[in-house]
Subunit: 445 residues, 2 copies
Amino acid sequence: MDSTARTVNVGLIGLGTVGGGVARLIERHRDEYLKAYGIDLRLKKASALEPGRAAELGIAPENFTTDWHDVVADPDIDIVIELIGGDHPATEIFEAALTSGKHMVSANKALLGRHVERLAKLAAEHGVQIRCEASAGGGIPIVNALEHALVGNEILTVAGILNGTTNYILTRMASEGLDFAEVLADAQRLGYAEADPTADVDGFDAASKVAILSSIAFHTRVTTDDVFQEGIRNVSAADIAQAKSLGYVVKLLGIARNTADGVDVRVHPTMIPADHMLASVSGAMNAVYVVGDAVGETMFYGAGAGSFPTASAVVGDVLALADAISHNDKVQAEIEPYQRVLPLRPIDELETRYYVRLLVKDEVGTLAPVVDAFAAHGISISQINQLQDGDGSRCSVVFLTHTARERDMAAARAALEALDAVESVASVIRIEDVASWADGAEKND
Amino acid sequence: MDSTARTVNVGLIGLGTVGGGVARLIERHRDEYLKAYGIDLRLKKASALEPGRAAELGIAPENFTTDWHDVVADPDIDIVIELIGGDHPATEIFEAALTSGKHMVSANKALLGRHVERLAKLAAEHGVQIRCEASAGGGIPIVNALEHALVGNEILTVAGILNGTTNYILTRMASEGLDFAEVLADAQRLGYAEADPTADVDGFDAASKVAILSSIAFHTRVTTDDVFQEGIRNVSAADIAQAKSLGYVVKLLGIARNTADGVDVRVHPTMIPADHMLASVSGAMNAVYVVGDAVGETMFYGAGAGSFPTASAVVGDVLALADAISHNDKVQAEIEPYQRVLPLRPIDELETRYYVRLLVKDEVGTLAPVVDAFAAHGISISQINQLQDGDGSRCSVVFLTHTARERDMAAARAALEALDAVESVASVIRIEDVASWADGAEKND
C-alpha cells in the first residue's frame, strides 16, 4: 500500500513438490504482490541437490546453488524457507538461519513436532520468527486462525482429519467396501500413498501435526512423542460397514483437548456421528475442527497436501513477514515461548465408548464368558450384534460399550484374548463423544 | 511476550447482544491476554443508551457513558469498537474516531457493505485501521484468512451460507417438509428470526456480507447495491423435496466469482449437490467456501451470529491492533484502498442451469406450448418431472434446463406466464455449477 515498494529477498531450500510450487507461485504472482501489497518478493537464492531443478523451474543459474549454506550465508536474504523435511540438515539450516537473524518459514512437521520449543527459543533470542502454517493442514490457514483470529478465545478442542492418505484410504474402503490392504496397494499405484506408507497409515504424520496445533492452541508444549498414536491398519471393511449401520463413520482423527485433568492428545481411528461436519470430509481432503470458549464450534477445510496448496501456506507466511519487514516493524517471535507447560493426561485415563469386534467360536455358550470378561473390568455393554460373516466355525460379534476407561478396556481386551471362546479381538475402535468437545464453551445466544 | 506488559485502552460503543459479549469476554480473559500476549486490555469507556446495561455487565460507573462522543473524545483510547449497527450515528462515530487517530473495530455490515471505500480512505489518511472480521460470518475467521493467510493466492470464488436465519429456515423446511411461512413463524417465536425478517429472508444481510468479502478477496470495490439479491420467500417444501430427489439441496448462497467477464456477485436460493461440503451446513450455522488459484478449495465453518461468537471476532481484531500498538509498530491501513476497480458482470449475463416449477392445467396438450416457449428463447430442457400434487384441475411440472443465460430465462419466464396452459411460474431456482468455482485453479499434485 506504500507508494514506494520495498524488495524483500527470500531464500528457498528444497525444490521438491512443495518447493517447486513455492518457486512457481512467487514467480507467477510477483507483479500482483507488488501491486496489491507494495512488496517486491524476490527469490534471491534457491538450493536443491539436483542441479536440473533450477532450469525446470525457470530459476536463473546465478540464483541457484546445490549447497544450502550459500542460501543461509547470503546477507541480502531476510527470510529462509526450508522445504527439505526430515531432521538433517533441516536442524542445521534452522540453527544457522536463526542465529544469523533470518526469519524461517517451514513445512517440516516432523522437526517442528519434536523440536519447536528449542527452535522457538533460538528464534526469540535472535529477534526473528519461525512460521509454520504449512506444517499442519497443508493449505488450510489453521495456524493463522489459532495464532491470530481466535486469540480472544480459550481453545478447548482441536480435532482434525490431518492426513490425506489415510482419509483417502478410509473413504474408498467405505464407498467400495474394500479392505485396507487392497486400497493401500491401489493408493500407492495412484500416487496417493508412499511406497513406505508407515508415517501416514500408522499415524505419525497426524501426530506431528496435532502436536504442533495443540502447542499453539493451548499455549503449551506438546511434542510428537507425547501423542498417543494408533494407525488404520486394523480397520476392516466389516468395521466400516458396521459403523455405517450404527450411524457412524470411521475417520483417523488427531484429537487434542484441554481438560481439567490435563491435555488429552491422541491420534487413532475414531467413530464419529455420520452427520458431524468432519464426517463429510472425503478423499484426500483435510479438515480441522476447533472449539473456542467464545467462538464455539468452527471448522477449517481444504487440501492438506500437494504442491500448490502447501505453497499457498508458505507464501502466506512469507508475505506476512515481508509486510512487516517492508514497514520496518519489529517482527516478534511468533510461536509461543512456552511460558506454561500444562500436564498431559495419559491415554490410560481416557474415558470413551468403544466399538469392539471379536472373532468368536460359533457355538452355544460363547457369549457368557465374553460378557463376564467385560463386566469383570467394570465395562458395561450397550449393544451386541452378531454379524453374518461366519463360516460355520466362527463369526464376528460386535459389542458397543458404555463410557469406560482406557486402562479397563486394555485389561478387558487381554482377558478376552485369553478366553477359549474368543479367537481374536479383531478390532477396538473408540467412539468419540463429539458433543463433549464443546464442554466449557459459552452458550451461543 | 514482552516482559513489560503495555496497557491498551479500548472504547466500546453499543452494549447489546454483541457489545455485551465483548465486554464479558474482555473481562473474563483479561488475565490470560496479559499472560499470553503481554497485553493489558482495558475497557476504558463503554457507552449505551440504557444506563442499566453498565451494572448488568459489571462495568464501573466511571467507565460508562450514555453519550458515544465521550468514548471517541477520550484521549487515552487507542481503539474504538462500534457495535450499534445501522447508518447513524455509526457513520459519525467512524468519522470522529478515525479523524482523531483511533483504530476502529466494527461488525456493522450494513454500513461497511455500502461505505467501506470512503471510510477506508479516511482511515488511511489518518494512519489507522478499520478491522471488520465480525462483519461477515460472525465468529468465522474469514476476513483474516482472506487478508493474511491466503494472500499468496489469486482468489477465484467466495461462496457461502452467510445468513443463519435463512439457513435455519431452509434446514427445517427440508427436514420437516414444512413450507416457508410456517417455519418463519416458528423461528420468530424461538428467536431465530426477527419480528421484521426482511433483512434476512430477502437476502440483504447476505448481500452486505458478500460485498465486504468480495471487496477484500478480489482487491476491488463491491458494494451491497452491486449485489443481485433474491431471498427465500418463494422456495416451497415441494421445491426442496424435488431438489432432494434430484440429488440437490437448496441453500441461500452469497456467491462472488472473479471471472474474465467481470465480477459476478449475487445472493439467491441455489441448488447445490447434496454431497458438497456446503450442503452439510445445517441449522443457524454459516460457512464460507473460498477457492484460491494455489490453495484450491477451502471452507470455513462456524457460528455466523450470536453474542460470544461475534465477540470472538471483535476481540481477535482488537488484540491484533493491541499487539501492534504495544510493540509500537506502525499499524497499516488494513482494508484495501481500492487501487483497482474491476468491472461487474450484470446478472443478465449469468449462465447457469435452472430448476423451474410451473403450475399448469392438468389436461392433454399442456406440455407442447411450454416446451416451445423454452425453445423459443434458446433454452433446452434436460429433464421434465410431473409431480403428484395435482387436484384434478392443475398440477406442478418441474423442468431442469441445460446451461442458459439469465436474460433468456427471464424472457422465457415472461412468455411462460403469458401461456393459457400455465397458471403460474411457481419457482425458478438456479442450479450452481460448483465445479466451475475452481476454474483457473492450479492442479493439485
